[in-house]
Structures are given as structure tokens and as C-alpha cells.
């Protein structure tokens, strides 16, 4: 018995010894797997980015991956994945997860969206308390692969069968969210990049500090794009090394440092100026010199401030530390009073010495005196729109308030945020190009979209986290769950523009021929940010044109179905949404898919049917359409005419009630102004006649009595073009220009200056000219009688001959040009006055002569 017992014990002992010895080889731990891998370099399956998605940081040498080493075993290193690329890790396929899930409509997300709504409150509480976890101290960051694998394994275990409910339940827990954020940061930098950062003095310590702090991780990841994140964290390390205590202990300083670091890396601005920018904002905040609103900024809007443009301190920059400091101390105002603060500068195109604002001579003499400080120099000397708008916006920025200059055609204005609402300053036109943008889109709608998106702080964070989860699952070859997460992210936050674009990229990669998926994405955009509830038509249109149509449209074989889909975008839109937008961009994108004139005509029919009924759009669409048509090949001489007539008829069919009269008048004015600008005479005439038919009451019957010359009036069917630049108000009344050529008269501004600036008349065809009569709005001022007006003629609008050297003024309102002696002909006429600028209004312009047959 005892022998048997001894044998049994011995055999157990041997088995255990052998078992312990063999176990690690049979069932290796994750860490052991990693260690083994380190010893055996393997194949790395690299960047599977979508073929035409550019990596923006290709020149970022410091953060390039090591070359892959060829071998047979798995590689657990994580290749850096930027915002525009999709990588897959070297893991086995999951057979349960390689199916593209069925498309779902919004209603099928109801249950998950209800959970998300509840999660928002929990997120709010969690952010207030913040969550820290020190499970990855500094010394472990020298081995980021091990950390990544450890976290990835535990995340996947917790995600269980990867259904939506489990994923949302996972996200409700702060420790889990911290894990997801850590994974995402590592994936965005790559394990090589993390290792390089950790190897820097203080790098591992900073990484540990970031990766233990959920709010900090969230701020880094979910406040805008994370392009060049590795470089961004290297920037942050520079600041951390110098100002560690403040960064760790003061949330505002932490945000200041992080946003400076991220934005300078993202924009590709020089590192040394990043440090100066940080020093300015951090010291200003510490000294209590910034507006109190600064401390309440979130990460995303602090990016707009600390990442404001023009950060070059050495040059004449508004965003340089020297200028910011001067403005901070000399233009201290409550936020709303920065609107209008541009008038602290005198508007002067030339300074008192006569030097133009467009030359360095303008500020040059005071450049030393003002210590190379641009705002100060302009305050002393003056400036025009650029200086004024920069002054107002950088005044706010220097005090820690979100603002930015913005371009308008031929003008500079600015945007300023007051109480959560973006307002325009010094603005003269609807078209704004904002200077600071997170997504590379500079239309005004994107500024408002950004504001609306991030104002829903927790909802957007959940959506962004779902995108991060989708990216992670996609990288882990869990395609089914990845699709589900992307789609839920879009439905959770329909305003998440970058999320939509990213999902389109994934779709292109994984399901390029899945019509239903593409159509579902299209509908999500149209019913989401493109709906009248949100009114982000510009952003939605860009998303469709750039990210959705290229995938979706080639899958639609029937042109009719395609045109109906294009028109569906316009069906429910109401007004311009957040701001007027370039509807022509979307129309151009859509019509580009038409293969021939028949398809184009059908497209125009469908789209015009919808758009011409919308008073805000009719003018812009008419202008676009006529412009487009004028560029069509016109081999048979009829195509353009046919298209133009179709469009004018479409406009003519629209009802113009008394209430809508102004809108129609404005729309036609805009269209006729565009025709003037483009020299499209036939279009000019067609719109003029249409305006007369639809808005007769807008034309004053002036009953003009003017002298005449032999022949017939040949200018009635001409195009007339003033030399003045038209503002919005002038444009609305531009149909009066057409009326100037008619018997009843109209109104057109004159601008005469030098030998080239004057009023142009483009006749229907080449004619013999006997004379011209101009009826002025007011008598000519005495000091403007000399020099007299001159009439020139040309066959081509380029080479001019003077046919009447001196006009005959009757002392009242009429100028006559007697060309009978000249025996001249031409298709173009020009009235000029060689002298200083003179701008008399005109009410009638009539050219007499005879058309030359057989041109």
C-alpha cells in the first residue's frame, strides 16, 4: 500500500514537473508570446490604407516605422495608423466576424441610441470625477508592444461576443474607456513611435502620466483630428520637461500644453514657435491676464485659440508671441466688444505719406518704433480690411477667446464666438473662408458644424469612441463588429463629419460593391446633417460629393434612379441652412456623372424641378446652369440654346407671388450679374426679359426722351457691363442694367478712370456704328466736364479704336457720341473718360447703326 502510494506520489511529482516544464510551450501567455516574438522578427502586414487616401504626414521622418523584417511567425507590433488609413494587425481571421452585416435603417438603432442617451449622463459624472489608473507605470513604457497586447487581450475578452449591447456596456465603464483610449493612442503612434517617445528623457514618465488619466486621453483623442499624433506628443514632451508641475497639477495648463503641442504638429508649424506660443498662453493664464472664459474652454475650442494661425514670431505675424502680448495688454475687452474693435484702426489705403498698404513702405518707417509689433504699427498708421479684421480677431485670441480672420472675395473679415455663437465681423459678403479649420474645410458651415458637434460634448465623445472601437476591431479582423460600431457611431452623432468620411473609407476598402451599404450611408448623410433639422447642407453636400458618390454612383446603372437620388438631397432643404453655400459645387459633382447630353438634360430636369421652386436657390442654380451650358460643346449650334431655354423656362414656370417678388428679383439679379461678368450676352438678354416678365413692377418707366442717330437701335439686344465691383445690394438690382438698354430705361453705375476703365457694350453682332446716346442719372458736376467722354469700338473686345474723341454734352442729362464721320464698325463698344475716377449713374444707353450682314 505504502509502495503504491509512494509510486503514485512520485508519478504525480514527475507529471507535475514535466507539466510545469512543458506548459509554457504548450500554452504560452500573451507576454511569453511577445517575448518569443521579440527574439524572432516576423512579417508585418503593413498599412492597408485605401489606395487614394493620402497620408498627410509622409514627410514626418522622425516617426517613420522601421522596415518590416521578413519571417513566418506573427508580428505583434502595431503599425502607426493615422486618421486617413486602415491597418490590419497580424492576427488570425475570425470566421465569425468576416461577414458584412445587413444594412440597417435609423429605426433599427433605437434601442442602442436609448442606451447612448443614458450613457451621456454617466460620462458627465465620470468626467467630473475623472478616472486614473496606474497599472502601466513609467518603467513599462519601454515595451509598448507588451502593453498593447495586454490591453488588447483584456479588451477583447471583455467585449465577449462583440454584439452591440456588450460593446456599449463595455464603454459605460471608465476603466474600459481608459483601456480603449490607451489602445487608440498606441495605434495612432505605432508601437515603434511609442517606444521612441518612451526612450526620450522623461518620455516614459509622461506617457505613464497621460495613460493613467482618462480625461487627458479623451482630450487628446476626441477633440479633433489627431494627425501627426506622435509628433504632437513629442512636442508635449518638450513642454512637459520644462513645466511638468504646472502641466500635471493645473488642468488649464495641461489643456494649454496639449492643444499647443497637437495643433503645431497637426499644422506642421515649427516646433520652436510652439514653445513660444505655449509660453505666451501659459504665462498669461498664470498671471491672470486672459479673459475668464479661457479657463472654461474644452480641448477642441482651446485648439482654436492656442493653435491660432500665424505662429511665426520672427516675422511680421499677428500670431507671434510679441504681437499677442501687445494685443493682450492693450486691447482688453469683454468678448462681445471685440466685434467692432477693428475701428480702433483708421481705414487708410494709403498712409499720410501716400504709401500704399500693399507695400512694405506703409509700415516700414515705424517698424522699429513699434518694436516689430504689427498691431501696434497699424494702430499708429492705419490699415485696410486685412489689418482691421486681424486686429479684431487677434485681439480676442490674445485674450484667450476663440476668433479667426476669414477671407471674403476681395475682402478680409473675421469670425468671433460670443456665448457659444459664431458671429461675423467686418463682413460684406456671404462667402467666408475661415482661417482655422480642423477638417481642412473652410466654409462657414464647417465652423458652425464644428461648434454644434463639440457642443454636444458627451454625445460626440461616445460617437468618437465608437469610431475608435471600430478601428480597433477592424485592425483585429473583426469586420462584422467593426461595421456595426461605425454605423452606430454615425447614428449616435449625425453631425460627426469626420466619422462619416472615415466610415466611407472603410466601406471603400471592405465593401466597395455593396450598394445597400453605400445607399444607407448616403441616406444617413441626407437625413442627418443634410436635413432641415440641422441645416448643414454645405457639409453634407461636400461629404456626398467627395466621399459617398465616388463609391455609390458607379453602382447605380440606371440614370433615372441616379438623378432621382441626386435630386433627393434638395427635396427637403429649407433656406440656406447655417449660411449660404456653393450649391454649384454639388451640382457640378452630380452632373459630372452624366455621360451624355440626354442624361444631362434629364438631370437638369429633375434637379431644376426641385430647386427652382426654392426661392433662395433659384438664382444661384440658374446662374450655375447657364454658366455650365455655355461651356458645353455646341457642335450643332443648338445644344446650348436648347439647354438655356430649358432653364429659363424652368425659372419662368415658377410662381412669383408678391411676397416672393424680392427674392425672385434678387435671384435674377444675381444670375444676370454673373452673365455680365462672363460676357454671356444671350444669357444676359434672356434673364433680362425673364425679369421683365416676372417682376415688371421693379422696373421704373422713366419715359426717356433721347436724341437719336441714323439707323436703328442696335444695343437693345446687347450686353452692358459696368466697371464697378458689385456688392450684394448692387447685385440684387442688376436686372436694371439690362433695362438701361431698353426704351423705358433702368439704372447702371458708371465708373470711369484712365483709358481702360469704363462701360462696355457687347453687341449682338458686328455693326456699322452711327452714334450713341447716354442718358445720365444726374447732371455732370462742373469740375468733371473735362476731360470729355470718348467712344471706342472693337471687333474682338481686345483691340480698341477711338471712334468719337469728344462727347457732346447738352448741359442736362444727355451725352451724345456722333460717329457718323468715323464710318466705324465693331461688335464691342466702350465708353471711357481719361482722367481721375468719376462715377456717374446712367439710366439709358443707346447705340445706333446697322447690323453688317454676312459677318
Amino acid at each position: 500500500m505504502s509502495d503504491r502510494l509512494i509510486k503514485l506520489l512520485l508519478s504525480v511529482l514527475v507529471s507535475m514537473t514535466v507539466g510545469f516544464a512543458v506548459y509554457p510551450y504548450l500554452f504560452p501567455t500573451e507576454y511569453a508570446k511577445h517575448t518569443a516574438k521579440d527574439e524572432q522578427p516576423a512579417v508585418v502586414k503593413r498599412d492597408n490604407k485605401v489606395d487614394d487616401w493620402e497620408r498627410d504626414d509622409a514627410d514626418d521622418e522622425a516617426w517613420k516605422e522601421e522596415e518590416p523584417v521578413v519571417d513566418d511567425g506573427p508580428d505583434e507590433r502595431v503599425v502607426r495608423q493615422d486618421d486617413d488609413s486602415f491597418n490590419e494587425e497580424d492576427v488570425p481571421e475570425d470566421p465569425k466576424q468576416n461577414k458584412i452585416p445587413e444594412s440597417r435603417v435609423h429605426a433599427q438603432f433605437t434601442s442602442s441610441l436609448a442606451s447612448i442617451q443614458q450613457m451621456e449622463n454617466k460620462y458627465a459624472r465620470a468626467e467630473k470625477e475623472n478616472y486614473f489608473n496606474d497599472d502601466f507605470p513609467a518603467e513599462r513604457w519601454n515595451d509598448p508592444v507588451a502593453i498593447y497586447q495586454e490591453i488588447a487581450d483584456r479588451v477583447l475578452i471583455k467585449l465577449g461576443n462583440l454584439d452591440e449591447k456588450t460593446i456599449l456596456a463595455f464603454m459605460e465603464s471608465s476603466p474600459n474607456r481608459l483601456d480603449l483610449a490607451r489602445l487608440t493612442i498606441i495605434r495612432k503612434i505605432g508601437t515603434t513611435g511609442v517606444g521612441q517617445l518612451a526612450a526620450q528623457p522623461g518620455g516614459a514618465e509622461m506617457l505613464a502620466a497621460i495613460m493613467r488619466d482618462l480625461n487627458w486621453c479623451n482630450g487628446i483623442l476626441y477633440s479633433g483630428p489627431t494627425r501627426n499624433l506622435g509628433h504632437g506628443l513629442a512636442n508635449l514632451l518638450t513642454l512637459y520637461t520644462e513645466d511638468k508641475e504646472a502641466i500635471l497639477n493645473d488642468e488649464v495648463i495641461k489643456k494649454t500644453a496639449t492643444t499647443c503641442a497637437l495643433e503645431f504638429a497637426r499644422e506642421g508649424w515649427p516646433d520652436e514657435f510652439m514653445k513660444q506660443r505655449y509660453d505666451f498662453y501659459s504665462s498669461s493664464y498664470k498671471e491672470g491676464r486672459l479673459n475668464a472664459l479661457y479657463k472654461d474652454l474644452l480641448y477642441w475650442d482651446m485648439r482654436l485659440v492656442t493653435g491660432c494661425a500665424e505662429g511665426n514670431n520672427e516675422g511680421p505675424c499677428w500670431g507671434g508671441a510679441r504681437n499677442l502680448k501687445w494685443m493682450r495688454d492693450n486691447v482688453r475687452l469683454p468678448v462681445d466688444r471685440y466685434l467692432g474693435s477693428e475701428y480702433q484702426l483708421q481705414y487708410r489705403l494709403r498712409n499720410v505719406a501716400g504709401d500704399s498698404v500693399f507695400s512694405g513702405d506703409y509700415l516700414g518707417p515705424v517698424w522699429e518704433y513699434t518694436d516689430h509689433t504689427i498691431a501696434w504699427a497699424h494702430r499708429e498708421i492705419g490699415g485696410v480690411c486685412g489689418a482691421l479684421s486681424h486686429y479684431a480677431s487677434f485681439g480676442a485670441l490674445s485674450n484667450g477667446l476663440p476668433a479667426m480672420p476669414m477671407g471674403e472675395p476681395g475682402h478680409c473679415a473675421y469670425a468671433l464666438r460670443v456665448n457659444g455663437e459664431w458671429r461675423r465681423g467686418n463682413s460684406i459678403y456671404w462667402q467666408h473662408g475661415i482661417q482655422k479649420t480642423l477638417w481642412g474645410q473652410n466654409e462657414w458651415d464647417f465652423l458652425i458644424l464644428m461648434q454644434n458637434l463639440y457642443s454636444q460634448h458627451f454625445r460626440t465623445m461616445i460617437s468618437d469612441q465608437l469610431i475608435a472601437m471600430a478601428d480597433f476591431l477592424g485592425a483585429r479582423k473583426k469586420m462584422t463588429a467593426s461595421f456595426n460600431c461605425y454605423e452606430l457611431a454615425l447614428h449616435a452623432q449625425p453631425l460627426n463629419w469626420p466619422a462619416h468620411a472615415r466610415y466611407a473609407g472603410y466601406l471603400k476598402l471592405k465593401a466597395p460593391n455593396d450598394y445597400k451599404k453605400w445607399k444607407a450611408l448616403h441616406d444617413a448623410v441626407v437625413d442627418g446633417m443634410g436635413s432641415k433639422k440641422y441645416g448643414h447642407y454645405c457639409a453634407a453636400g461636400k461629404l456626398l460629393a467627395n466621399s459617398v458618390y465616388p463609391g455609390l454612383v458607379p453602382l447605380i446603372k440606371d440614370a433615372n434612379t441616379r438623378n432621382k437620388m441626386f435630386a433627393s438631397f434638395f427635396k427637403d432643404i429649407e433656406g440656406w441652412g447655417t449660411n449660404r453655400w456653393e450649391v454649384k459645387d454639388l451640382l457640378n459633382a452630380q452632373i459630372a456623372y452624366c455621360k451624355d447630353n440626354k442624361e444631362r438634360k434629364d438631370f437638369l430636369h429633375d434637379v431644376l424641378y426641385v430647386l427652382m421652386a426654392k426661392k433662395d436657390y433659384s438664382g444661384a442654380v440658374l446662374t450655375w446652369g447657364l454658366g455650365y451650358v455655355s461651356k458645353l460643346p455646341d457642335e450643332d449650334g443648338k445644344t446650348q440654346e436648347e439647354f438655356s431655354n430649358m432653364m429659363v423656362r424652368a425659372m419662368a414656370r415658377t410662381k412669383t407671388t408678391k411676397k416672393e417678388l424680392d427674392a425672385t428679383w434678387g435671384a435674377l439679379g444675381e444670375a444676370i450679374a454673373a452673365a455680365e461678368e462672363n460676357g454671356e450676352r444671350a444669357t444676359f438678354q434672356a434673364i433680362g426679359r425673364l425679369a421683365y416678365a416676372k417682376c415688371k413692377s421693379k422696373f421704373e418707366k422713366k419715359n426717356i426722351k433721347a436724341p437719336r442717330f441714323p439707323g436703328k437701335v442696335i444695343s437693345q439686344t446687347a450686353l452692358i457691363k459696368p466697371a464697378t465691383t458689385m456688392g450684394d445690394g448692387d447685385m440684387k438690382n442688376a436686372c436694371q442694367h439690362w433695362a438701361v438698354l431698353q426704351r423705358f430705361g433702368g439704372s447702371i453705375p458708371g465708373k470711369f478712370e484712365g483709358d481702360k476703365t469704363g462701360t462696355l457694350i457687347q453687341l449682338d453682332s458686328k455693326c456699322d456704328i452711327t452714334g450713341a446716346v447716354v442718358v445720365l442719372k444726374n447732371p455732370i458736376e462742373k469740375d468733371k466736364l473735362k476731360p470729355a467722354f470718348t467712344l471706342q469700338a472693337s471687333d474682338d473686345g481686345q483691340n480698341w479704336t477711338t471712334i468719337v474723341r469728344e462727347s457732346d454734352y447738352d448741359g442736362k442729362l444727355t451725352l451724345k457720341f456722333d460717329a457718323r464721320q468715323a464710318k466705324a464698325s465693331g461688335k464691342f463698344l466702350r465708353i471711357v473718360r481719361i482722367g481721375e475716377k468719376y462715377e456717374p449713374g446712367m439710366t439709358g444707353v443707346y447705340v445706333y447703326g446697322k447690323q453688317i450682314k454676312n459677318r
Binding site: P316, R332, A353, P365, A387, S389, P405, K631, Y692
Partner: protein, 366 residues
């Protein structure tokens, strides 16, 4: 001396021993109505958003550190709230009143010196002036002294007439650091009966841009010089205005092949008029740039290289390229142009009339 008289005397002595307090008023309209010839000092400060203002308020107001320079003034605290709530709005309305603050206040905190007509006569608001109580006190004291001097001259002028009045008002205008109020200028109520033989009117209506623009209409350098010298020879203009005239002349010569020696002498003349002023510095800068050819202009910014006013985006969408012949004159549609009556019968240029196209009445022969 009875007990009562003794008591009053003691109280008076005690009052004299204490520093005189500035008259503080709760509202700007009250201050305007009661100021008389006294200056009103408005302490405008960011009341709920600005730590710098908070510190200034603590020192200037709570700790009375400006008191010694405010003795002859009416002092009003003007809180400026950021995004005010209803109570704060009411408070601001009460303090500021309907007329509003005068223009020219560019930054808070600041100390604005205003007269009873609501004219801003001067202001302490530059960063280096307002940064601490000593600097602010010194700047305010200087400003108030200038105000007193100017006001006393205007008061004297009010009692005088004709050319004496003009002379006194001109002296008032010459006091540096304060603005002459508009009502002391031409046509103003404090100006009645003045016979302007000193150029006060020309001084007050002077516009340097008009002068500069006029030089652009002249045919020769000699004509410009004659014009500017003519202005310079007239009385009344301030030093800054004269410097502006010289800047216009020198600028014109510089751009129109004037000799370097001439330009040097003009900028030197301009500088020497008032070397410590901004235009004194301008003149020195001009000498450095254009006479001594130091490379300043290369580093100074100009509007065109930094306004970003061309950042209107182009479409990112697919562009349409369909045989773009827009540069040609494509409008070669055949036209039946029968002169005066043509328009009336044609619906579209070169097309036959269509039922649903608009028609326009014809132009009749005269």
C-alpha cells in the same frame, strides 16, 4: 467763542487735516450734470471676467491709491460686464446712462477723463500706463494737469472776444496730451465771437489724407512742394499736422525721383519738429529706410502678404471639364436683328419666340 463755534472750528480743522476726498458719483449722467468745469474721471473696468481689472479695482478704488490725484475731480466707477445677466445689465444702464460712454476707450481697465459735455479729453489706457498704480497715478496726474491748464485757458477765452479769444483758444489747443473739446472749436458754443486769425479752424478741420491725396493730382514735384510749403506757412497747425504735411511731401518726392538730399532734409525737418513723437520716430525710420538704405522695408509687413483674403475655398468636388471654350466668343447665334422692333418679337436671342418665354415691349422710333 461759544461751545457751538468751538465745535464747528474743531470739525473744520479735522476735515482740513484729512486728505480731500474726490467727489464720487454713482452714475455717469449725474457726473455730467454736476461736473461744471471739473474733470470727470471714469474708471472703466472689466467687472466679471478680468483679473487685471480686478486688481486695478482693488488698488485704485478699494485702497484709494489714486485718491491724491483725484481731489479736484468727479470720480465714477464704470463696471463693464461680460455677457451680463439682467441685474448686471440694469446696473450698467444705471451707471452709464442712455448716452453711452465716449468713443476712444479701447481697453479695460482704463481711466478716461471726460468733460461735462461728454467729450473724451484724454485717457490712461496704454499697457505701460495702466499696469500698476504708480504708473497710472503718474499718467493720470499729468493728464489732469493738462486738462486744468487747457480748461483755464478756455474759460479765459470764453470771457474774451475777437482775436484775443482766438489766441487763447489756440493756446488751449496747444496744451499737449489733451484734446480740445469740439465746442471750443469753430462754431462751438464756447467759441462764439471769435475772430479766427490764428488758424484754429484750419487746425481742427485738417485731414492729412486729403492733403496727401491732393498731391497725387499735381503734375510736378515743384507744384507739390509749393502746395505743402504754403500749408506749412499758415498758422494754427499742430506739430503732428505739420509732420504729416512733410510726410506727404517727402513721400511724393521719394516716389517721383526727388533728390536724396532733398528727402533727407525734409525727413530731418520732420523729425526735429517733435523728435519724441510717433511722427518723429517715423521720420527717423524714413531716414533709415530711404536715405541710409537700412533693410527695414524688407521685414515690414504689407497687406498683400498676410491677409489671407483669398482663402475662399475651391470646390473639392469633381470638376466639370467639357471642352471649355469660354475664352472664345461663342455667341455666334444667328440673329434676326431688325433694329427697333427686334426685341419685341424675339423671345430669346437668336431664337424664334416661344409660347412660355417672356416678351418685352419694343422700343419705338422717335
Amino acid at each position: 467763542m461759544n461751545r457751538r463755534s468751538l465745535f464747528l472750528s474743531l470739525v473744520s480743522l479735522a476735515a482740513m487735516a484729512l486728505p480731500t476726498q474726490a467727489a464720487t458719483m454713482r452714475s455717469y449722467p449725474d457726473a455730467l450734470s454736476k461736473a461744471g468745469h471739473k474733470p470727470i474721471v471714469l474708471f472703466c473696468y472689466g467687472a466679471n471676467y478680468d483679473e487685471v481689472s480686478k486688481k486695478a479695482y482693488e488698488e485704485f478704488v478699494k485702497q484709494h491709491k489714486l485718491q491724491s490725484v483725484l481731489q479736484k475731480c468727479i470720480f465714477v466707477e464704470v463696471p463693464i460686464y461680460q455677457l451680463p445677466d439682467e441685474r448686471q445689465k440694469r446696473e450698467m444702464e444705471k451707471v452709464i446712462g442712455k448716452a453711452g460712454l465716449p468713443g476712444g476707450i479701447f481697453s479695460y481697465p482704463s481711466l478716461a477723463v471726460v468733460d461735462d459735455g461728454g467729450n473724451l479729453r484724454g485717457i490712461v489706457q496704454k499697457a505701460d500706463e495702466i499696469q500698476d498704480v504708480e504708473a497710472a497715478k503718474a499718467a493720470l496726474a499729468k493728464l489732469l494737469e493738462a486738462y486744468d491748464q487747457q480748461e483755464s485757458l478756455i474759460t479765459k477765452a470764453e470771457k474774451a472776444g475777437g482775436t484775443v479769444k482766438a489766441k487763447l483758444l489756440m493756446q488751449a489747443a496747444e496744451v499737449r496730451g489733451v484734446n480740445l473739446p469740439p465746442d471750443a472749436g469753430e462754431g462751438g458754443k464756447r467759441n462764439k465771437g471769435m475772430k479766427d486769425n490764428v488758424g484754429l479752424g484750419a487746425r481742427q478741420s485738417f485731414d492729412p489724407i486729403t492733403v496727401m491725396e491732393k498731391t497725387f493730382t499735381m503734375d510736378s514735384n515743384a507744384e507739390v512742394e509749393t502746395y505743402i510749403r504754403g500749408l506749412l506757412n499758415k498758422p494754427g497747425y499742430s506739430l503732428a499736422q505739420r509732420q504729416e504735411m512733410l510726410a506727404a511731401l517727402a513721400g511724393h518726392l521719394r516716389r517721383n525721383n526727388g533728390s536724396v538730399d532733398k528727402i533727407r532734409s525734409l525727413y530731418t525737418e520732420m523729425r526735429e519738429l517733435d523728435p519724441d513723437s510717433m511722427y518723429g520716430a517715423y521720420a527717423q525710420g524714413a531716414l533709415d529706410m530711404w536715405v541710409d538704405k537700412k533693410p527695414i522695408a524688407a521685414t515690414a509687413p504689407s497687406e498683400i502678404n498676410r491677409t489671407n483674403n483669398a482663402i475662399i475655398s475651391d470646390s473639392d468636388g469633381p470638376s466639370v471639364v467639357i471642352n471649355d471654350n469660354s475664352a472664345d466668343d461663342t455667341d455666334d447665334t444667328p440673329v434676326i436683328n431688325d433694329g427697333h422692333t427686334a426685341m419685341g418679337t424675339r423671345a430669346g436671342a437668336g431664337s424664334t419666340p416661344k409660347k412660355d418665354e417672356p416678351q418685352v415691349d419694343s422700343m419705338e422710333d422717335e
